[in-house]
């Protein structure tokens, strides 16, 4: 379906509204995390980053899963809107990955005593991040829209299939070479105040994901509509 300028403007407005809502929720999470939640006994203030880090990781993983699923739909239905949506989701997933991969080491340095460790989860997320950087680079290197859509859908699907293999192999790799101390806060044992703040964090990150994707998708459709109008 051909996009229209007015139609894409409507999508952009929705995206802006959702983004504003997500950002507002994020502000509440910040305030709750800094003011209302108690200090964790052993980790102290460093633990507070958890309310941003874990929801960001959640949104990043959700974004990449959606890229894979939408890519399957694209190869089946060949609707260019699906391709635009997958690309938007990949881009937003990269943003959340960067948040996850920067907040993680900031927490890791005081708690683990090191910025980075080759823990299975860390390795998997880093490889996924690089894979989707490759996905975006591939997109930017192809001119023909249909070809770009097909090629990136192939990478999106293959990437989704790759995840369990990487997980399995890095997990086995790590457990065969155990690290001496791996400290982990387990979610179910959280006190209610912390849990509520974390859940709100998940909600804020999800709404923010949706807002970013809709906004990015609207902008992509707008660019196509403008180009069509010029021709």
């Amino acid at each position: 379906m051909k996009p229209t300028i007015s139609g894409s403007r409507g999508i952009i407005k929705w995206g802006l509204a959702l983004t504003a809502l997500g950002l507002a929720a994020m502000v509440i999470v910040y305030v709750l995390a800094l003011v209302y939640t108690p200090f964790e006994v052993r980790q102290g203030a460093a633990q507070k980053i958890f309310y941003v880090h874990v929801p960001a990781a959640w949104s990043a993983m959700m974004a990449f899963t959606i890229v894979g699923l939408v890519s399957i739909l694209y190869l089946w239905l060949r609707d260019e809107r699906l391709d635009a949506f997958a690309a938007s989701s990949a881009e937003v997933g990269l943003v959340f990955s960067v948040i996850m991969l920067t907040t993680g080491p900031i927490w890791g340095k005081p708690i683990w005593g090191t910025w980075w460790t080759w823990d299975a989860r860390l390795t998997l997320t880093l490889i996924l991040f690089l894979l989707f950087l490759g996905y975006m680079t591939l997109r930017s290197a192809i001119h023909d829209p249909a070809e770009r859509a097909r090629f990136s859908a192939v990478v999106g699907i293959m990437g989704m299939v790759l995840v369990p293999f990487i997980h399995l192999s890095v997990y086995l790799f790590r457990t065969l070479h155990p690290k001496p101390i791996v400290l982990k806060a387990s979610a179910p044992s959280l006190p209610p105040v912390m849990l509520r703040t974390l859940l709100l964090g998940f909600l804020a990150a999800s709404v923010l994901y949706l807002g970013f994707v809709v906004l990015r998708y609207g902008l992509a459709r707008h660019a196509v509509a403008e180009r069509d109008e010029e021709n």
Binding site: L130, G134, Y135, L138, A141, R150, V154, M158, F165, L172
Partner: protein, 226 residues
Amino acid sequence: MSSWLRVAAAVAGKDIVIEVRTKTAILSAVVFAALVLIVFNFARDASLVSTTELAPSVLWITFAFAGMITLNRGFNLEKENAALEGLLLAPVPRSAIYVGKLISNLAFVGMVEAVALPLFVLFFNVPVWGVLPGLLGLMVLATIGFVAVGTVFSAMTVRTRFSELMLPMLLLPFMVPPLIGAVQTTTRLLAGRPLSEMIGWLRILALYDVVFITLCVLIFPAVVDE
């Protein structure tokens, strides 16, 4: 079915004939593999790190890099004179074209590995004779997986700008599971460990091969679809 196999064999045969006559890809990949091995020798302190500890990673990094150089060649061949368009105009299943390309790529990467392995034994003085059948089997198991994925990716990257950089960028994440499995198994092989300690990794490698060959056969038509 038999005509499907004939198409695959014809595509593979044509590539192998071209390569045997020109020898450019194989020769440069072999020289490249030798150079990587030589560079590795200077990248360690021989008095601190023993060869046997480093050997499995040296071997597999060499195979991975040389394999990638070789894979770049597979569809580059088809760019000249729009040969790929000609191939696609033929009324044959696209999956047979993929399998043909996979076979020829496996033959090329296999040839490079066959030359690199003796060089590795010579340069690093690793006793592989006793475990040679196991090591060759492992090489087949690990190589099939990443060449299957690399064949699909090279068909795409060859049509992009900076294809030489694009292929490693996309393919290296997919090489992680086969490489970890191969290095872990090689370490155990060279240390003379029993099969029971390797079977887990071998299963992962075999599963990777089956899953990705199936996926690539299904998905390849979408890559060359015009």
